[in-house]
Amino acid sequence: MNNCAGIQKLSVDQVYRALDSSPRGLSSSEAQERLREIGRNSIEIPDRWRLLRSLLRQLTNFFTLLLLISALICLVAERLQPGQNMLILGWALGGVALLNAVFSFIQEYRAEKAMEALRHFLPQQTSVSRDGKVVPVPVDELVPGDLLHLAEGDRVPADARLVEASGVMVNNAPLTGESLPLALSAEAVEDREAEGNSVFAGCLVLRGSGQAVVFATGLRTEFGKIAHLSQAIRKEPSPLERQTAHMVRVLTLIAVGLGISFFSYGMVSGRSWWINLVFMMGIIVANVPEGLLPTFTLALALGSLRMARQNVLVTSLNAVESLGSVQIICADKTGTLTRNELTVSLLSGPTSVERLGAGERRRLLTLALAASPAQTAEQEKKGDPLDLAIASAFDREGYGISWRTLFFHPFDVEKKRSAGVIEENGEKLVAVKGAWENIAPLLSEETNSGVIAAAESRMRELAGQGLRVIAVAWRPLEADEDGSDQDSLERKLIPAGFIGIEDELHEEVPAAIRDCREAGIEVLMITGDHPDTARTIAVHCGILPEGVKSETDILTGDILEELSEEELKQRLKAGVKIFARTSPTQKMKIVLALKALNRVVAMTGDGVNDAPALKAADIGIAMGKSGTDVARASAQLILLDDNFASIVAGIREGRTIFLNIRKFTNYVLVSNGPEIIPYLLYILLPVPLALTVIQILSIDLGTDIIPSMALGREPPEPDVMQHPPRGHEFQLLTPGLVIHSYLFLGLLEALWSLGLFFYVLHSGGWIYGTELAGDHPLYRSATGIALATILLMQIGNLIGRRFHRRSGIDRSLFANPLLIVGILIQVLFSWALLYSAPVQKILGTGPVEWTVYLVAWLGIPLIFGADYLRKRICYGPPLSLNHFRT
């Protein structure tokens, strides 16, 4: 963890010398000089323009720019030639552009929250020695060389090396994720990895007091690096953002290309520039699905509400869809796959496989409890779950405490063991408990190698059963041994046995992992446990197949540390499924390697130090119950029940949302066909324009919105989790979708609506080649029926879009009430624009004969039937919904 390991090897005098400090601290002038050189002890990156830049970035988005330019042209056109409704169009386009930009801006603004949560880990003020006096100073004025005075309950304000320590115990959880207390001293340590004499910013002094010389401040502290990453890592565009960008680019190129080509053609053919301008605007507006992106946002927002019902809280809308494209889930074992409720499930002698007798059981639990910080389950409630499990087992067996604790040496992260000295029946003994590999070297010489080998084998056997194995050892103490020196206590130990502790899986996990496998999603398990324990859990929950043991599927933290990214990528390709004995800081390395393999990665996390990895992953998932505020603020999804199965439920929802987005994209693009073709006819033939710009907008930004949202709310298709994830390469706008939208259904809508348009014109006495004024009653009626026909045909299109392969009426329309609302809106609006005076006035339409209106209704079965025929020809008879239910 420590980035300044050199300073830990120095004696106290050398530390003062190295940092040009002294037991009197720095002088005020020296502190000022250092503050100028190094800067303030602040973990925030000052950036006063961040929000403005973010807003500008949203406003300069390709799609937003296009809408804004269109809006500007409309406003200019209105000024040049008023009364053509161009003002309304301009404002409508501008409004849509701003709405999109504001939505995205609000998403980015959330990044502030992570910083706010991190700020709580640093104090406002601290005590330091300056000019030989202890004075309070604001924390941001601390500089390297300052002599800090630390006391119980203090938050450490900067990374510092202890020069005086009296029983100092710290909790380094914000950095290591390990909540166990760590005892520190002021002595020099040789081991580079050791941290026995340093305190770190953001951590808590649990007990004792001391003085420490600051060696790193601000972003250079370990905590500062986490803060820096939490602020500086920018999310890469999500798969949906990329696909939307691609779609917008293609549609814009088509729109602008067509618009400019026909504007030029119009100019050459001698039409007035104004007609050509209106025409060009019409082509562009008809091609750009203005309502599509706001509908995306609404669909994602509705999806996030549905996810919340599955215990998945969404903090970033794009995550809703991104979760659906996840290819790999990196899940913490403890708490996510398992319940994080430890229970003692087995007590074993050091070598024997036979069941222990009552006396031996009591003895083993007594020794284990003696090496725990508290002796009752009640006292342990807020402590380490492992100690709580032992205390609970002791209570459950009905034993009572018959000893007196003389000394206790808490669990040391480096030593991986704890020890207690007790007096029972007038005899003193020391009990030590911890990982076997850390207890074995402390056994007495009398314990022969055969016993050690048998104990090792027993330990492996228990770990192989998926148990977390705690070794317990002891020795009697001489009367003159006081027990204060841990190192002299922990020698010549006698093995007492092993305690097997189990953390049960969430019961839904195996089924959820099976679903993942069927859905082509890989699950990697990350744990700090022993590889054998990790393997067994992985087999139990289905991450690894039963009975197949391969060396390539597990990677331990120490090997991971030494691997380069390229080597790690090779190991991942070779099939690593479990990361055992890993620390939270190594998660970042795993995420980056997976992303370098071009995978869409979801990562779970709960600690402060998980924040950078959560931000770096495509989807950061924080634990709602056990997670820290920082992790929650850095994640895009929060699991309210800390349960892996909820992630899978979220993936199902995410995939459904993407499929629904495809459905309504297809739906919306269909209406582009009958919107474009009238303009092409208008420029190529001497015929009136069948649809005005405002009428096009009434479809794109009006009647199509609710049906699109209804498609966005369609329930999951039964086989949604039986396809592999889409991956980065998948496109929302495929050639097939374009052909289906524009050249099949779009063309059909255009033919039917234009047929009725010309029928009304012809029956009203219009002669081919003659011009009609925009306010002529015949023109208004003809354009009205063209618009009404498109709206009605969109109903048939809407029903057909519900399923990719099935008709669309094989699931009740009432299963999705919004669908009914959408259909009603189309019907009502198609009637109103023909027969309601206020709507006629706004849209420039007029009434037609009832019989003509009824013919327009025939467009619904026409488009639905044609599409169904296509489905039958392309895909054959559909499987019934019951097929999937069984």
């Binding site: 390991a5 250092r34 190094i38 390709f62 060389g145």
Partner: protein
């Protein structure tokens, strides 16, 4: 030989730790300290600091010579006249913050020294005095020039005895408006170009150090802001020193890269070393 331009300040003392560590791995174990009295720091303080430096050198069995240079027209000229023409030597100097938080490198003596061609130069910005001038994890961002290892080698080789890992990094500039529109294939081909370049550098290093004892990783990023990318990577990989090349080809080049460079010097999560790039 290592040449240290020491301004007599506390900061100079932090920089001198690098110089001492470099000198320890020199064949001749020689350190030449150059100081131009400017009168900004009391002479007695400067003398004490330089004496402490001499003592440290003696403790480390280094041959150390300290020269007080007469102030000529300016500090830079005095230093330039005293710096020997020796391509095997390395000049070490510091980049200090100027009044009102102005630029660290632009128009500084360190920048002028970087332009001299008497010997290779490294200008250091020390932000972690607690590191004691012994970084073991280095971030080496490269801009893709053809010069290969030639420019940074005289500096990098001085760190080699203590190194645990070196991260070779290349950031390929992509405008933020273009980035979402970049296809995956195009992105991959750009990355491949970057990786191919870094692998070439890696081969060059391996040629120079056939039995290297430290790890080298290669990493490429596509970004619209190379300086931010370097800062993030330094934090992400817990780097202890960023070794950065600076070029001074054209005014436009300097304007473009200068801002990013100053940004790194201002916001770096670790120490920064600057050498003269191609």
């Amino acid at each position: 030989m290592i040449i240290l331009a020491h301004d007599g300040s506390l900061y100079g003392e932090w920089v001198s730790r690098y110089a001492i560590n470099f000198a320890l791995s020199e064949e001749d174990r020689r350190l030449l300290v150059l100081h131009v009295p400017e009168g900004k720091i009391a002479p007695v303080v400067v003398e004490a600091r330089l004496e402490r430096l001499m003592n440290d050198c003696t403790e480390h069995e280094l041959s150390c010579r300290c020269e007080y240079l007469p102030p000529e027209q300016d500090v830079y000229r005095s230093l330039r006249h005293a710096i020997p023409h020796d391509p095997t030597a390395l000049l070490v100097c510091g980049t200090r913050v100027k009044a009102r938080n102005r630029a660290y490198l632009t128009d500084s003596i360190a920048e002028k020294l970087l332009r001299t061609h008497q010997c290779p130069v490294v200008a250091l910005r020390v932000t972690q005095p607690g590191l004691l001038g012994t970084p073991v994890n280095l971030l080496l961002p490269l801009a893709g020039h053809d010069a290969g290892t030639e420019r940074f080698w005289p500096v990098l080789r001085r760190f080699v005895p203590r190194l645990h890992s070196v991260q070779l990094f290349r950031s390929l500039n992509i405008h933020y408006l273009r980035y979402p529109h970049l296809s995956r294939n195009r992105e991959q081909s750009l990355r491949d170009i970057g990786i191919a370049y870094l692998e070439q550098i890696l081969m060059d290093i391996d040629k120079r150090l056939p039995e290297r004892s430290f790890r080298i990783d290669c990493r490429v990023a596509l970004s619209s802001n190379w300086s931010d990318e370097i800062l993030v990577l330094a934090s992400r990989l817990r780097m202890q020193l960023i070794l950065l090349g600076v070029s001074e080809r054209t005014l436009a080049h300097r304007l473009f890269y200068g801002v990013g460079l100053e940004r790194i010097l201002h916001k770096s999560p670790c120490d920064v070393g600057i050498y003269r790039g191609p």
